[in-house]
Symmetry: C2
Subunit: 138 residues, 2 copies
DNA sequence: CTGCGTGCAAATGCTTTGCAAAGAC
DNA sequence: GTCTTTGCAAAGCATTTGCACGCAG
């Protein structure tokens, strides 16, 4: 039904940079910012320029290969698309982003007459287990 | 229990600009961006500089008089705090922000062990009634 | 070869900050 | 008069874009 999600649009050229950027996302279990991607890519020897990361991300989002994750109080982050519908948890202490399972019945929120929803974003903020543990001694 | 929410902290001076900025928020029924505030304020003859708006907003948020509204894909907006708990709807066509009544039982989203939630943001995106009407002819 | 993709630097757009002048008390 | 607040311009950031060169096909 949808285009395959494991490769970019056909008209694009395969370059070292693009392959590297995609592998960084595939290896990550949490949403990444463009800078996260650049530094992660840099760790592997050959790097990528930030502008290339931005351009690649834009294309990958348009291709549907990446999903945008908007978080309150910080720039957008991205994660490989196609995962089961889920939402995120942001730890206010360490700023790490966790993926949560499942989704509320958002349909329960009644919209005004004539309004039609196409998507929703839910972000829970709080304190993650490791920060809590660290704070409450040990 | 909480500080009064109808006036700023006591140590601050009352200036024409601050009074104007607060009145703009009180007169608005939807969240405003700093630029929204500046232009709304400007309509009333005497204006305010953007930097003053930014400074006032920051103070008002710290005082708890304003609440921050984070929207996917655009800068933060602000609304007077103290309203009943609610969420927002962003029309993807006209970009207007509407307030929705009620709230889902967010507690239904199970957090991992040890995680503690302190707040949540829910934003529904879609098409509002007036844009839909305009699009479907008439 | 032909042309898309990349890196760098410059340009943006939004928000913050330094500083001298204006205003509140 | 003293100390806060304002406005403007400059500084910061994050993101985008123009361009010349390099690499994929």
């Amino acid at each position: 039904m949808n285009r395959r999600r494991d490769e970019p649009a056909s008209s694009e050229r395969s370059t070292r940079q693009k392959r590297l950027i995609r592998s960084v996302f595939e290896a990550s279990e949490r949403p990444l910012s463009p800078e996260d991607v650049r530094s992660a890519a840099a760790r592997g020897g050959e790097g990528v320029s930030l502008s290339t990361v931005y351009r690649a991300i834009r294309t990958l989002v348009e291709d549907g290969w990446l999903a945008v994750v908007e978080l309150p109080g910080s720039g957008a982050r991205y994660e490989v698309a196609g995962k089961a519908h889920h939402h995120h948890f942001v730890c206010e202490a360490c700023r790490r982003v966790y993926e949560l399972e499942g989704c509320l019945a958002v349909d329960a929120l009644k919209l005004p007459r004539g309004f039609r929803a196409t998507s929703h974003d839910i972000v829970i903020s709080g304190e993650c287990a490791s920060c809590r543990r660290a704070r409450t001694r040990r």
